[in-house]
């Protein structure tokens, strides 16, 4: 029986899709059967970040509307045998997502996977609501920046009221804070809020601190989840977050920007 985890934030551009790809790939690297689902109907992007954009045939909406079977729409990752991607439609609008349709697909996936990772769109409308509705746990992606923290707080309110677990009076959706684009140097100079500051405001358990890193853009350029770059700080931070998501106790470390030695810089490949 799979665990359903929503990656959400309210605010756009904070790293939801990057984090979905990284956490999904990280779980698959640890041998967990994982599927990542794009809920951003009309603005499909998880396929690009995962590097499978040229192989999309059918999508989530085709499955909901009965035009394709689920196993025809699932794309198997070519690097990790335990990872699958369910892309969304690029042409339909968000009304094509129905609660019943989403529920049916998730129930079918639950039997075959250990983890179902739902990549929420920005905002708090239909797509975002349905991405979180069936979740067991939530990863709230937040930048140490005022509007992002405010939106995360709003999303935490929705998680505790507008989800199936809330409506049925079951155990609440378990929230995790994933702090992204964290710049330890700017924090030291007092230009950016500290981890402790954000934690004090949102008061939910910390899943990880992802440092601001050039590796993230490089990974998205080539369509490789950043966690596959195990030499990078961002990749290491995501790998730690994956361990915590699996329930392991790992010491929290604040990784800085990557500093490469002279030799490394000279040999630094452009990809």
């Amino acid at each position: 029986m799979a665990k359903i985890i929503v990656i959400t934030s309210g605010k756009g551009g904070v790293g939801k899709t990057t984090s979905t790809a990284a956490l999904g790939a990280g779980l698959a690297m640890r041998g967990k059967k994982t599927v990542v689902i794009d809920f951003d109907v009309g603005l499909r992007n998880l396929d690009m970040i995962m590097g499978c954009e040229r192989r999309v045939v059918f999508d989530f909406i085709n499955v909901i509307q009965g035009d394709a079977k689920l196993n025809q729409a699932l794309i198997k990752d070519r690097r990790l045998p335990d990872l699958s991607i369910l892309p969304t439609s690029q042409t339909r609008d968000k009304d094509a997502l129905t609660r019943g349709g989403v529920e049916k697909v998730l129930e079918e996936l639950r039997n075959d996977f250990d983890y179902i990772i739902c990549d929420s769109p920005a905002g708090i409308e239909r797509g975002a609501h349905l991405a979180m509705y069936f979740a067991d746990e939530a990863v709230v992606v937040t930048n140490p920046e005022v509007s992002s923290v405010r939106d995360s707080d709003r999303v935490l309110g929705l998680l505790s009221s507008k989800t199936r677990r809330a409506e049925k009076g079951e155990d609440p959706v378990k929230p995790h804070l994933l702090l992204t684009r964290y710049d330890a140097a700017r924090v030291a100079k007092g230009e950016m809020m500290k981890v402790e500051d954000v934690l004090e405001i949102l008061s939910i358990p910390l899943l990880g601190i992802i440092p601001e890193s050039p590796t993230v853009l490089r990974a998205s350029n080539v369509g490789t989840p950043v966690v596959l770059d195990e030499s990078s700080n961002a990749g290491t931070a995501y790998a730690d977050a994956v361990s915590r998501l699996m329930g392991e106790q790992i010491e929290m470390r604040v990784l800085g920007r990557e500093r490469r030695g002279l030799l490394q810089r000279l040999l630094w490949r452009t990809t």
Partner: protein, 102 residues
């Protein structure tokens, strides 16, 4: 760093170059697709109808694979056909044919 640019040129393209190429290929396809209907579900349905005239297959036994390229795309349709003894559980034959390119 320009001194090392000479050595770099021989290596794989930069990630920025890869990003640009991926976008160019994808967007060329998406702009083209935007004008027409989503034909793949219909195509699959019709192919299945034709096959069903001759062999007993269900839609689960049809796998449609697509690989979009810059100059050419390939659409591969795998249809798992039932074995000689239709009653037996395990189908033995699988027909595979690259259907068309555009």
């Amino acid at each position: 760093m320009t001194l090392f640019g000479f050595f770099r040129r021989a290596q794989a393209p930069s990630s920025a170059q890869t990003a640009k190429e991926r976008l160019q290929i994808l967007l060329a396809h998406e702009r083209q697709d935007r004008s027409g209907p989503d034909y793949l579900p219909m195509l699959q349905k019709e192919i299945l109808e034709v096959i069903k005239k001759y062999v007993q297959v269900t839609s689960e036994k049809v796998a449609v694979k697509l690989e979009r390229g810059a100059d050419m795309s390939t659409l591969e349709i795998d249809i798992e056909l039932p074995g000689p003894q239709t009653a037996s559980a395990k189908p033995a034959a699988a027909a595979s044919a690259p259907a068309f390119a555009r």
